[in-house]
């Protein structure tokens, strides 16, 4: 197994992620949230969905699933860890990424492609991308509104990696789909080996899906596996 893709009760994007990772050049294997040994994995992805029904808060129950001890171990070992959508919410709840995700500004479930600008290439999710590159990737969430108690220190840390923009990379109120603070769509941790984003790169990883803009993000993740194992 190269990449472990975690399945919680309620996860629904795991097969898309496995396929997207394969397109990006990595083997991936589904692991159940009760698995307590990811020893063979070089990286782990928490895919989207509604883990444990999103009861209490999104990700709040999932972060205590047995597999999360292994996810934390891998994060602490410097291995690549990625959370997509619900997976991002889980990593925030687990304290592995800064901030939290709350209900969208307009209280609507958003399911449409959005534009993202690559803010930093210093992360396992963006290392193969170019700073300033604009990607068109589907967003599919109700609690996608990123908040953090201290956005200035987050910005200063360089841990913001993706921001909502328009097709030209401009940041306007109308190009921020869900009201996220500073239009933040994706962040990384200080060590830059854990990353999360609300939009779904796996749903834009082949031209037949309408966009393959997400592939560069999955390729970044796969390239990070090779860097760590080298």
């Amino acid at each position: 197994m190269t990449v472990a893709v975690v399945v919680f009760p309620g996860t629904n994007c795991e097969h898309d992620v496995v396929r997207g990772l394969a397109t990006a050049g990595a083997e991936a294997e589904l692991v159940w949230h009760r698995d307590t040994d990811l020893e063979g994995a070089e990286g782990v992805v928490l895919p989207g969905g509604f883990a444990h029904g999103d009861y209490l808060r999104t990700g709040a129950i999932a972060r205590f699933s047995p597999v999360m001890a292994e996810v934390e171990r891998m994060a602490n070992d410097g291995l690549p860890v990625l959370g997509i959508c619900n997976g991002f919410q889980i990593l925030c709840e687990a304290g592995l990424l800064p901030g939290a995700l709350v209900a969208n500004r307009d209280l609507k479930f958003i399911c449409r492609p959005v534009h993202l600008e690559v803010e930093s290439t210093d992360s396992v999710l963006t290392r193969a991308a170019t700073r300033g590159q604009v990607l068109r990737i589907p967003l599919n969430s109700y609690e996608g509104n990123y908040v953090t108690a201290d956005v200035d220190s987050l910005e200063g840390s360089g841990n913001v990696i993706l921001r909502y923009s328009d097709a030209g990379g401009r940041k306007r109120p109308a190009s921020n789909p869900n009201g996220s603070t500073n239009a933040i769509a994706g962040v990384t941790n200080d060590r830059r080996n854990v990353a999360g984003l609300m939009p779904h790169p796996e749903r834009a990883s082949e031209a037949i899906l309408g966009s393959d803009d997400g592939l560069v993000l999955l390729e970044s993740f796969v390239a990070s596996l090779e860097l760590v194992s080298a």
């Binding site: 709350v102 500004r105 953090t148």
Partner: protein, 82 residues
């Protein structure tokens, strides 16, 4: 003995609360123009067995810190229920 509590969880001030903002606007539209603040939260009732009220409260505090609230964005209060 059984101790009965109610935990009230609310968003920390200054952080985005779209439900509160939207409901505030709706109330003002309905003519309740004196309303200046609406905030959403949740209440969670918890009953537990503990040797003393202090023990019970300590346990509740740990539950809030660990699971019932997200300390990154939420604050909480604990009160006893009759």
């Amino acid at each position: 003995m059984t101790h009965r509590f109610r935990v009230s969880v609310s968003r920390k001030p200054g952080l985005s609360d779209p439900e509160g903002t939207t409901t505030l606007k709706a109330l003002q539209d309905l003519g309740f123009t004196d309303v200046s603040h609406v905030a959403f939260g949740r209440t969670i009732d918890v009953d537990l067995e503990a040797a003393s009220g202090d023990d019970a409260r300590l346990a509740l505090e740990a539950m809030c810190q660990k699971l019932l609230a997200n300390p990154v964005i939420e604050s909480y209060t604990i009160e006893e229920r009759p």
